[in-house]
């Protein structure tokens, strides 16, 4: 894979390198970008998100390795229906983050666990204060696929303004990249940041 090394360069040089590589990369193809600057890394994250490029990150010894994939057009990512559906606004959001690491709620009978989790997610919509964010990792990401029984509830929560973050490593591990039905596939840095800055973590 092509490697774009921006180590030792400050903003905006890494962004320029990323944009140039994106232009030269075919849809669906990936490249690797290296940076050793925290601010450049943060800015790259926002920039890539706004430029509709997917990316995964690993960090070691203060060097961030971003594996950036150019998405194929915009069609692959968006469902026209989502744009037509009226967004539901004016919901109070609390200073808490819901973390879902499993597709089941509690220990015990498997079938019961699935049912409880579905009820929990449905119940979130009725709370006086919605979570500010929902984070899904490990088995939790299976709840956010198009065939999940709670996908409509999750889409509703997103429309109500709840940010839904999925662990990219987990999505890839379970080969779910093509069946993600809601939320933003995100890196561990963003997930850690969301959890670290939350007033409370709610884990069913």
């Amino acid at each position: 894979m092509r490697i774009v090394d921006t180590k030792g360069h400050l903003c905006p040089a890494p962004l320029i390198a990323a944009k140039k590589a994106l232009k030269e990369t075919a849809g669906g193809e990936s490249f690797i970008l290296l940076t050793d600057n925290q601010t450049s890394f943060d800015n790259l994250g926002r920039f890539l998100k706004d430029n509709k490029a997917d990316f995964q990150v690993s960090e070691s010894e203060s060097i961030w390795t971003l594996t950036i994939t150019k998405t194929i057009g915009e069609v692959a990512l968006t469902n026209p229906e989502d744009y037509c559906a009226p967004s539901i606004s004016h919901f109070e959001k609390g200073n808490y983050v819901v973390v879902i690491s499993s597709d089941k709620m509690g220990e015990g009978d498997e079938e019961l666990g699935h049912l409880l989790m579905a009820n929990f997610i449905k119940a979130l919509k009725d709370l006086d204060e919605l979570p500010s964010k929902m984070v899904f990792y490990n088995n939790g990401v299976k709840l956010v696929t198009t065939s999940s029984p709670v996908i409509e509830h999750l889409k509703d929560l997103e429309k109500m303004g709840v940010e839904v973050l999925l662990c990219a490593t987990c999505v890839n591990h379970y080969s779910l990249a093509s069946s993600v039905g809601a939320g933003t596939v995100s890196n561990m840095f963003t997930i850690a940041e969301a959890m670290a800055s939350a007033g409370n973590i709610v884990k069913p």
């Binding site: 400050l10 903003c11 905006p12 040089a13 962004l15 320029i16 390198a17 990323a18 944009k19 140039k20 601010t39 450049s40 943060d42 800015n43 926002r46 920039f47 706004d50 430029n51």
Partner: protein, 339 residues
Amino acid sequence: MVESGGCSAKISPKQLEEILKYLPLPKDPNILVDIDTHDDAGVYKVNDDLALVLTTDFFPPVCSDPYEFGQIAAANSISDVYAMGGDPVLALNIMMFQAAKLPMEAYAEILKGGFDKATEAGVRIIGGHTLDDYPPKYGLAVVGYIHPGKIITNAGVIPGDSLILTKPIGTGVILAGHRLGMVSDDNLAEAKRLMKLLNKTGAEVMKRYNIRGATDITGFGLAGHTLKMAKASKVSLIINMKEVPLIGNSYQLIDDGCIPGASFRNLDYAEKDIDFASDLDYNLKMIAFDAQTSGGLLFSAPSDKVNKIVEDLRSAGLSDSKVIGYATEPKEKCIYLNN
């Protein structure tokens, strides 16, 4: 000479707001404008006919020529007085310069640039202070006169007013692109010309039309300063980004990814209060947050007078002056950024 980002060297607006929360505001009926509304300068009433406008600003070099840097820094420092509708009168030099590292001629050239620009503005520099520090930084602390009844603040915008911008934006992008060899000499020269240009002419037109709401566009970018204005005036402001004049190839630079770090800082501070139109061009969005050095005036004017005002600005030499948006009653968001 070492170059950096001019007004982009500002502390993040988010951090500044956090710090200012802990600073008690002095209580005095003669203080007419203080930091409460995040205005451009403070105003203190001396008597019923006279108030003083006080402001200061200094930053590291934006260009390699020390004389030009001095001119730009001085124009930028004095600008806040113009934005309040005042007449700048006196100033002190503020300088940081490491003589062991840099030639003394550069020191003299910076001061000369500042002196010449101050003289052009009718300002007398009557002193100053220098610290031994690297990289160099320069600016002025400026005092201006104003009539207490004729102060133009960022709180004076009325719903229905149109918004006029007197200089094109993009100095942050051009300076960053220049350091990476992406900017032609022509475009750099145009950016420098604009940074050296005093906001004096713009202020004269404002005063002629009894304008009440204005600010100047500097480190927090067009969107950041517009936001402070919207909050202080308790209105919502609609900005049509396609109407905003841009310097040289700054649009192309942003499209190539040349987005200075300060733009992300400004975005981070302001985005929660801004509605971004769903079809807003990403490059136009990011240039709205570009930190300007010695940027133009942004002021509000009654819609029936705007054409005449823009005409006056243009014939006074501010040829890029343009209506870029308007004010409405407060809506859900403070700022609406459209294409």
